[in-house]
Assembly symmetry: C2
Homo-oligomer: 279 residues x 2
């Protein structure tokens, strides 16, 4: 099967590697605006060729959209208008906006909205990882708006990558994604800025940074070009959870200010419950 | 050399393993209030025997205090009063309070205040790790208040464990620790509570939690019995940095509310600078 991947970055590149390795794709056509990324993708054998968008759509059996969610939102209806039997899958971190745009095409049924729940703080084709998706979850949204053969193809593709399937409405997905992914990025970006603000005064502190700090601040290395559009599209949910997070931080602040260490301990004992969920 | 370790938890236990492995300690005497922990430490061969505090002090050449910082603060002067030539080292995450207490003993010179910058979210003797300290930093505080032979012994001990040495005033240490360690724990605890607050409505979100979320929330599993005393002792610094962190989060909030995505991107590009410091 020939697979076109639009956007050969971290996710598109990792998907290219996995689909080739699993024998799903006999040929991968990459579409990449960034000329350097295109060259790197060829050089790293992530793709067999780089083509223009229209040529890639024509030459492929399945089209995977792996560009930032703002770009995906803009291009999805145009891509769908050009396919008849072929299947179009997106892999973006927000799902409502793209589903609304996809619905504007007469070929909405050929589109499957998905979100493979994997990523790292790195970006670009050189960040692509084989076996990235194994044992991770993938969310398929608004399944009933897609043709059943298209859903089946997407399901088979993700099962082949070793993922387990979740089904959700796009609006529910975006709410949950705000909690389990987007807020973690904001806290991490803000934590980095908190510490960098201090660096002006004291450089030595960074010699002390330990593994705990590193893991908490890791996501602050993430690519703004990918994350600004996610926060834009998921603004309302992210604001909700951000408000909750600030209010949780204020509880810690109040405990310290009032020296209410019993309640501080309660807050931490409650937080420990996350052990039930995250190993 | 016989080493007494007071508190055989994550840090004391890991130190016991390393000092035995490196041949620094021929015998390790553990002191442990928690009877279960004492049994586990013996069972795991972290210590050769469990003794009462006074007997351990008498029988050891070097005494390592690895209890929660509130307990360490209370016991340090009493321990120092009982030693003459022997060296007492503490390994707590705050340094000002213990240095103030140690100064109340006539034997202050025998005490070396240190903070090996390593830890995990786990606790207790079963969490002890061999090779925990390799390539990590250890901060030695108020060196000039310690006898030079005592400092030399501590330096040799930590070099043997593969650590690199930093020297700092206790007050400076506590400020820096608030930035590179303590705040990361508070954000992680608060993030866990933010998400757990939501869990009441939606359990399914946890199926979606990905590696990014897990790394950001990891520290929320940390032991309150260890961390409440740290926050108590370092209250002022932690409040300073917590206020800064809340104000950084408010900037993200304002960007979203005002749809000021240029500034949002600026904030994230600035946060990316953490790459310079954390690999």
């Amino acid at each position: 099967m020939t697979v076109a991947i639009i956007g050969i970055g971290l996710i598109g590149g990792s998907m290219a590697l996995a689909l080739k390795a699993k024998g799903f794709a006999s040929k991968i056509i990459g579409v990449e605006d960034n000329e350097e990324h295109g060259k790197t993708a060829l050089h790293l054998h992530l793709v067999d060729e780089i083509a223009r968008l229209d040529d890639a759509i024509k030459g492929a059996d399945i089209i995977i959209v792996a560009v930032p969610v703002s770009a995906a939102e803009k291009m999805i209806a145009g891509i769908l208008d050009k396919v008849k039997r072929r299947v179009v899958i997106d892999v973006g971190s927000t799902k409502s906006a793209i589903c609304i745009e996809a619905a504007k095409s007469k070929n909405r049924g050929r589109f499957v909205a998905t979100h493979p729940m994997w990523g790292t703080e790195f970006s670009g084709p050189q960040a692509a990882v084989t076996d990235a998706f194994i044992d991770k979850a993938v969310v398929i949204c608004n399944r009933e708006e897609s043709d059943s053969d298209a859903v089946l193809l997407a399901e088979n593709l993700y099962r082949l990558l070793g993922m387990h399937l979740l089904y959700m409405e796009a609006t529910a997905h975006d709410l949950h994604a705000a909690y389990v992914s987007h807020i973690a990025h904001i806290t991490s970006f803000a934590l980095a800025n908190t510490v960098l603000e201090k660096e002006r005064e004291e450089y030595a502190i960074f010699e002390m940074a330990s593994a705990g700090f590193e893991s908490t601040v890791r996501l602050a290395k993430s690519n703004p070009a990918m994350w600004v559009p996610i926060f834009m599209q998921n603004k309302e949910n992210v604001l909700d959870v951000l408000n909750e997070h600030i209010s949780q931080l204020r509880k810690f602040k109040a405990c310290l200010e009032k020296e209410n260490y019993e309640y501080l301990e309660e807050l931490m004992v409650n937080a420990n419950k996350i052990k039930r969920i995250i190993k």
